[in-house]
Symmetry: C2
Amino acid sequence: MAISDYFPIFDKLTVKEQEEFLHRAVSRTLPKGALLHNGDSTCMGLILIRSGQLRVFITSEEGREITLYRLFERDICLFSASCVFNSIQFDVTITAEKESQVWIIPPDYYRALMEESVVVSNYTNQLMATRFTDVMWLIEQLMWKSFDKRLAHFLMEECAIENTHVLKITHETIAAHLGTAREVVTRMLKYFQTEGIVRLTRGTIEITDIEKLKQLDET
Amino acid sequence: MAISDYFPIFDKLTVKEQEEFLHRAVSRTLPKGALLHNGDSTCMGLILIRSGQLRVFITSEEGREITLYRLFERDICLFSASCVFNSIQFDVTITAEKESQVWIIPPDYYRALMEESVVVSNYTNQLMATRFTDVMWLIEQLMWKSFDKRLAHFLMEECAIENTHVLKITHETIAAHLGTAREVVTRMLKYFQTEGIVRLTRGTIEITDIEKLKQLDET
């Protein structure tokens, strides 16, 4: 697969722009756990994901975390180029949740391209609107959904991502995704266990009744 | 003041674009309480605010509300033109909190302008990034701030907007802004009263110790 398959408007660029784009894009392997973006201190550029998984989250002063959204193959990470947008006045952290193959489009080049090409500018707008939608979904969850339903949704999502019913994930990691304390996660998982929805062993969570989990998620 | 003072990039448009912009903009008076946007069902267009106050909020299925942000003189309301952006997949409600003088830029015209002018497209990007920043601020408040601090901040903000220490606002309205139940607001206001921060009378909240309120807001 060529880079043009991962940048949906590639075909709409002029031939000169296409050549420059290919020339500027840098192919990289990001090791699992790599810190890609941390507030103002870094500005890597636009990241086109060929494979792997990125996590975009915010952190409180006390070190608590909550995941805003995750990005997968064919997604484009916009906020790793946040310096391109003067009006973005908030800090996110971005890490590689899995080893990832990416192309990086340097921020200065991308800014120049955006200022010159109405196609690129409008596409960037759509990208931002997509991320905005992700974050609005999160607000709705935080506001109107009880924690059992949020946890059910997260477990369903993990099963889909990992393609397994036996999740290798700590309660602490789940807590950081959902923006709560580890104890809260442990308590709810134990309740799920008494309901026959999961089986907990050291280091794993096995989903034993996916239908019940689905019902919780959907109500 | 001319419309060009309310659309910061007006001077960067071509003369032809400027003429068309002036021709398409519709001047309107929005009565207090007017419903301007309600999810998918309406798409008024971009709203440039000459005077007044708009409120952008979301609503749960059960009718609970939370304010995302408010817009004032010289602000531009983007989500009243949400149909312009295919990737905006969430619903907000927009009302006029006060009688407002506005210019409305029709959505079809604005979409066409955005697709033709890189200046307009990039400016729209900045607008969206500004709203994104507002919403990220809200998430941080919801996640890391206790309710007393959120209420203190809201009261401070109301005093600044209304330019008074005696607020005419119901506990119900405050609850809808902050996304909580009326009882929660009443309980916290009564606590503020015992602390000497406010004095409650029928229909008003008088701030009696602005310094204490400020301290709460800032910690």
